[in-house]
């Protein structure tokens, strides 16, 4: 009996020992193989950076300066650390990259300010930059790179406080092969010019056997942060226009019933809803599963942005596969730019701290930004290691994955519009909830409209 109890007692321990043993035997088995694409964070696909040619002029007086950078773009953490290391070797400035971890970027950065150790550089979203700009951020209006990316530089009171790190574009992602396999004919994404065209294609796909061709995310940031944003961004396709429409909404000088974009947006949204793979339980949709469905060709479309590539890759998509973006179709006017152009704007911005950073640290941080923009090595690493679409035109490198490549090409063909709407920080959450209710069929268009109007009315003060 006592023996028996002993064994039982030891079982959890044994269990854990077994796992540990497995771990080490695993090491023995696996260490021989160089790369396995399934291993997360694996070195596989690590870009080869040519450091032989480097004519960037480093400021020798900054050698030994220590700076830090807060990174809110978790998927490039490893690449940024590598970039920091290379920059350190070349310039003598030590750059440490701090991840946000579980925190939201804003919470993390204000915690760091409160603890007296803010990062010298911080990669943040536009709303956060706006909140911190005048008091904490170094003015960068006269930096040389401003002219390289003038159309993507954000200014507040005509002062620049941040560097646009990357361009991100979004729209309806298509899987070309899935469409062609289903229809048995070649698919030309440029042949679609309106919501009606898109609906016709969806109908043909369902008739050909693809029952539910659309993946529709239910996350608040996707519904309100990305889809509903079109309401402001397509006012006239510029950031100023977006700012104009949000201020009209908050002072009540425009109503949604006489603003066509509202119904146009919801017409497309209703279409996506109708063909949604998760239409029986739209709020039960799973983000990772959508990537798999699209890669497998179970669905053909997914509303998302070029940041979705790592997920598609994990789901089995290959860099040679043909994925790309369709516009967020609005209405049936073929000449409307919303039916031909993709929204692409600088989302992540880098600011430099002026409150705590020493002059040397500020200079070193500025040197790092210049290095990204002008040095051969920095340019390569930004695009090839971080998989980023650069906002600066002088960067000759092209992104490698199909989604970023499509956005990149469209930028160069003039098939994008850059309208960044700066909305309050809780917009995605509050109106995301309203969009979820609409998605689940628990509210009508009118109710959604009144939620939106009410939200904006509360922002008046």
């Amino acid at each position: 009996m006592s023996n028996y109890r002993c064994v039982k007692k030891g079982l959890p321990l044994l269990l854990s020992l077994a796992v540990t043993a497995g771990l080490f035997s695993g090491c023995g088995l696996r260490f021989g193989f160089a790369s396995d694409p399934d291993v997360p964070g694996n070195e596989e696909g690590k870009a080869v950076i040519d450091t032989s040619k480097d004519d960037f002029i480093y400021d020798d007086s900054l050698r030994g300066t220590k700076i830090t950078m807060l990174n809110s773009k978790a998927e490039i953490q490893v690449a940024l650390e590598e970039m920091g290391r290379v920059f350190g070797e070349l310039s003598g400035v030590s750059l440490e990259v701090i991840p946000c971890g579980d925190d939201t970027p804003y919470t993390k950065v204000i915690n760091m300010y409160n603890s007296g150790t803010p990062p010298t550089l911080a990669i943040l979203d536009l709303t956060d930059i706006e909140a911190l700009s005048s008091e904490k951020a170094l003015e960068l209006t006269n930096e040389e790179w401003v002219k390289e990316c003038s159309e993507y530089v954000m200014d507040f009171d005509s002062k620049v406080y941040s560097f646009p790190l990357c361009i991100e574009g979004r729209g309806i992602i298509y899987n070309k092969k899935a469409i062609e396999d289903t229809l048995g004919e070649t698919f030309d994404p440029d042949s679609l010019h309106s919501l009606d065209d898109f609906r016709a294609l969806l109908e043909r796909l369902t008739a050909a056997g693809m029952e539910t061709p659309v993946s529709l995310s239910m996350e608040n940031w996707s519904l309100a942060g990305h889809q509903l944003q079109y309401l402001y961004e397509t006012y006239d396709g510029t950031s100023d226009g977006a700012a104009q429409v949000t201020s009209m909404l908050s002072d009540g000088s425009i109503s949604l019933s006489d603003y066509d974009r509202f119904d146009q947006l919801l017409d497309l949204f209703d279409t996506l809803k109708e063909y949604n793979v998760a239409r029986l339980d739209p709020l039960g949709a799973d983000y990772d599963e959508m990537a798999i469905d699209l890669a497998d060709g179970k669905t053909a479309f997914w509303f998302n942005g070029n940041w979705a590539w790592p997920n598609l890759k994990e789901a089995g998509a290959d860099a040679e596969d043909e994925y790309g973006f369709l516009p967020y179709f609005m209405g049936s006017d073929e000449n409307d730019y919303t039916n031909t152009k993709i929204q692409a704007s600088p989302s992540k911005q880098v600011m430099i701290d002026k409150q705590y950073a020493t002059e040397d640290q500020q200079a070193a941080a500025r040197e790092f930004l210049n290095w990204i923009v002008y040095s051969n090595v920095g340019q390569q690493m930004l695009v090839d290691s971080c998989d980023i679409i650069p906002a600066c035109r002088n960067n000759p490198n092209e992104p490698a994955d199909p989604l970023s490549r499509d956005i990149y090409n469209k930028i160069h063909e003039g098939l994008t519009f850059n309208a960044a709407a700066i909305v309050p920080s809780d917009h995605w959450k509050v109106l995301g909830d309203a969009m979820q209710m609409y998605l689940a069929g628990r509210s009508s268009r009118e109710e959604l409209a009144s939620s939106i109007l009410q939200y904006w009315a509360e922002q008046k003060n």
Binding site: R5, K9, V109, N114, L132, D281, G284, S425, K429, A440
Partner: protein, 290 residues
């Protein structure tokens, strides 16, 4: 002489612990209270005294009061379920059943898994396992994900919390049962008392100190629920499962109304203090009677 010894005792025994506690908890808390009377946004260099305007903001934030109401519902369910289940299991696990230590270890494992993993696993269960059971059996309850329906998502939160807290409380109830005088129970057995009589007249009174502790701990933890809330539902669907602690956090950091968030936290604290104060008062009285 005597008062000198008393002072020495205080310095050796009481002071060090009190110092750590005060420095880490009380001082920041008091500073936090001060902040509720300012317009500080959490980061700016200036803070101006604004009196009670943050509290006015709390009263006009109807979502806060809704979340509080939901929290009350949640607390009642969780406190009752956790304590009944933990009490029964702890009782069974101190009867010398075969492998009881193994069981105890097993019941404790939920506490080993925290954060996002816990939420993710349970998301699996509610939105996949249940749905595949539903598909297989045609059972309507499992047709769609529990997390996409407000009522069922709330129920899911309760279930996961019960699952997690029970293991913790078992530990305390087990400590209580092992410290219990078994002679009285045996005597009652000989007298031919029924199970229910023994439970009501002997076991519960003797376990009252453990019950006080467990009730207090479950009450405060349930009121403060944040991790499970965030990782399992994050308030979804459409904000219907946002509990008070999560709302406070969102108010301060997502809506960036730091002062209002801080004031709501203070109000939450006062409410919980009243409720658990009342509970401790009531159960302590029972202890004395016993």
């Amino acid at each position: 002489m005597r008062s000198k010894k008393k002072f020495k005792d205080f310095c050796i025994f009481g002071l060090p612990g009190i110092f750590f506690f005060a420095a880490v908890v009380i001082v920041p808390f008091v500073y936090g209270i001060y902040l509720t009377f300012t317009n500080w946004n959490g980061v700016s260099a200036s803070k101006d005294f604004t009196g009670l305007s943050n509290f006015a903001g709390v009263f006009s934030d109807s979502a806060f009061w809704q979340s509080l109401l939901l929290t009350f519902k949640y607390v009642i369910l969780v406190v009752i379920l956790v304590n009944v289940i933990a009490f029964l299991l702890a009782y069974l696990l101190t009867r010398g059943i075969r492998g009881q230590n193994f069981f105890r270890a097993g019941f404790f494992t939920p506490n080993l898994i925290g954060g996002i993993v816990l939420g993710y696993i349970w998301q699996f269960v509610f939105s996949r396992v249940f749905v595949s059971i539903g598909d297989f059996t045609g059972f309507g309850l499992f047709k769609v994900s529990w997390l996409s329906d407000p009522n069922k998502a709330f129920l899911a939160l309760v279930l996961v919390s019960v699952w997690q807290l029970t293991g913790y409380m078992i530990l305390i109830y087990v400590a209580g049962f092992t410290g219990m005088n078994e002679d009285v129970l045996e005597a009652a057995d000989i007298d031919g008392a029924t199970g229910f009589q023994k439970l009501k007249n002997i076991i519960i009174p003797m376990m009252m100190p453990s019950i006080t502790i467990c009730l207090f701990l479950t009450l405060s933890r349930a009121f403060m629920v944040y991790d499970v809330n965030l990782s399992l539902t994050a308030g979804a669907p459409y904000g219907t499962t946002e509990m008070a602690a999560m709302h406070v956090y969102e108010k301060a950091f997502t809506s960036r109304l730091y002062g209002v968030g801080q004031a709501e936290a203070l109000i939450l604290f006062i409410i919980v203090a009243c409720v658990s104060g009342l509970q401790v008062y009531l159960t302590k009285r029972k202890e004395v009677e016993a």
